[in-house]
Amino acid sequence: MLKFPIYLDYSATTPVDPRVAEKMIPYLTELFGNPASRSHPFGWTAEKAVEEAREEVAKLVNADPKEIIWTSGATESNNLAIKGAAHFYSGKGKHIITVKTEHKAVLDTVRELEREGFEATYLDVQENGLIDLEVLKAAIRPDTVVVSVMFVNNEIGVIQPIAEIGEICREKGVIFHVDAAQATGKVDIDLAKLKVDLMSFCAHKTYGPKGIGALYVRRKPRVRLEAQMHGGGHERGLRSGTLATHQIVGMGEAFRLARLEMAEENKRVGELRDRLLKGLSQMEEVFVNGDMAHRVPHNLNISFAYVEGESLIMAIKDVAVSSGSACTSASLEPSYVLRALGRNDELAHSSIRFTLGRFTTVEEIDYTIDLLQRKIGKLRELSPLWDMYKEGIDLNTVQWAAH
């Protein structure tokens, strides 16, 4: 039995896996101690749970548990990593490099540092969404202190060449931060091999709870940060604040399950995604956004030419997806990520991000294919642009009466 609406927005957030929720609950009620309490068993029990969870997070990415710092989520991790490193190493220089397609949590953090007097370079991406390593090399200056590149793009799901970027940064002596919010459980991450200095994580994109995340801070060679949150000196002084034991336990369990199940799950979800792509590709004038080879298995970002995005979202309200354009707000603004790929406004407007996950079924995918085919057919019947395309008119040569 299909249940509506069908959830295909797993990159926005995932449900908490019931096994994770079950493990969290005792830490809200009977095992409620403060992990910083050293004088009684309530504290000791909570501390043990926190440290076990830290080990699980470290294991998923092949790091030392001592390199994992708890935060409230990837946004905070990104802020702590980028601001913390930029401030600590500002004696060496005040130049930061990031990419135009990064998440706002990175872009706005770098903007804030620019207001403080740092200089920033925002790298362009290629048409497939990946950065060009030569462009990165050329952008690194003697005063560059931090390079920040996301592992997996949240909109188009492309996987950046993190290993290669790490080599370049290490050779040049630049701190390398990676936002891995969308990567855990989707891509193998081996921090013993990757030359990454700082890596941001969150739980709620990997079937854990919202409001908890972590930052990996490399010990060898040691990376230093200036704390952004001051107080009781928790997390070795890098992030003060009482630890949210139940959230931490949830993240640990979610990452443990990801480690055990990701190979099988990614195979299954990848097959469903390919089925979706195959079904939608039966229509004409359908374009995938972003590289298909270097891409996480659960993401499909696709544009339907000659159909306007907002009416398309309206037409498929039984399916919960994200639109590439924020045109439900006052301004019709297409996605800055798709624009960075060089997609024209019109195709950026008509894009949809499908992200599948652990609980997606083949029935849901087949329903979605059928729904999209019907609705896009209907909207194209309504579209004067579709008629013009069919008549062989190149829309770029038309003199539009702009308004």
Partner: protein
């Protein structure tokens, strides 16, 4: 965004979708908007010998409000003279469909589409 019931009705069941041959007798065609702005409306009127609009058809690329606005004006122009059709104001369209402020431009576009179609008809028949 919450749409009014009237917008949803026109969106789900658009009236008078289609096209007349552009060069057919008594046809006026107006196309307004631009793909980059997210809406393009094509409105066609069929004018009888008595100067009354007998029929109208539309095609629209755009959001639900743009589709509803153009669908509505195809109903409204039927039975009117050209001058009466030109009297249809965007405020009336916006009011009828209860468009929110961010969607007022859809009603303006629909008014422009009527003007463009009437102008096209006049150019062909009086010129």
């Amino acid at each position: 965004m919450a749409y009014s019931e009237k917008v949803l009705d026109h969106y789900e069941n658009p009236r008078n979708v289609g096209a007349f041959g552009k060069e057919d007798d008594g046809i006026g065609t107006g196309m307004v908007g631009a793909p980059a702005c997210g809406d393009v409306m094509k409105l066609q009127i069929k004018v009888g010998k008595d100067g009354i609009i007998e029929d109208a058809k539309f095609k629209t690329y755009g959001c639900g409000s743009a589709i509803a606005s153009s669908s509505l004006v195809t109903e409204w122009v039927k039975g009117k003279t050209l001058d009466q059709a030109l009297d249809i104001k965007n405020t009336a369209i916006a009011e009828e469909l209860a468009l929110p402020p961010v969607k007022i431009h859809c009603s303006i576009l629909a008014e422009d589409a009527i003007k463009a179609a009437v102008e096209d008809y006049k150019k062909k028949h009086n010129g």
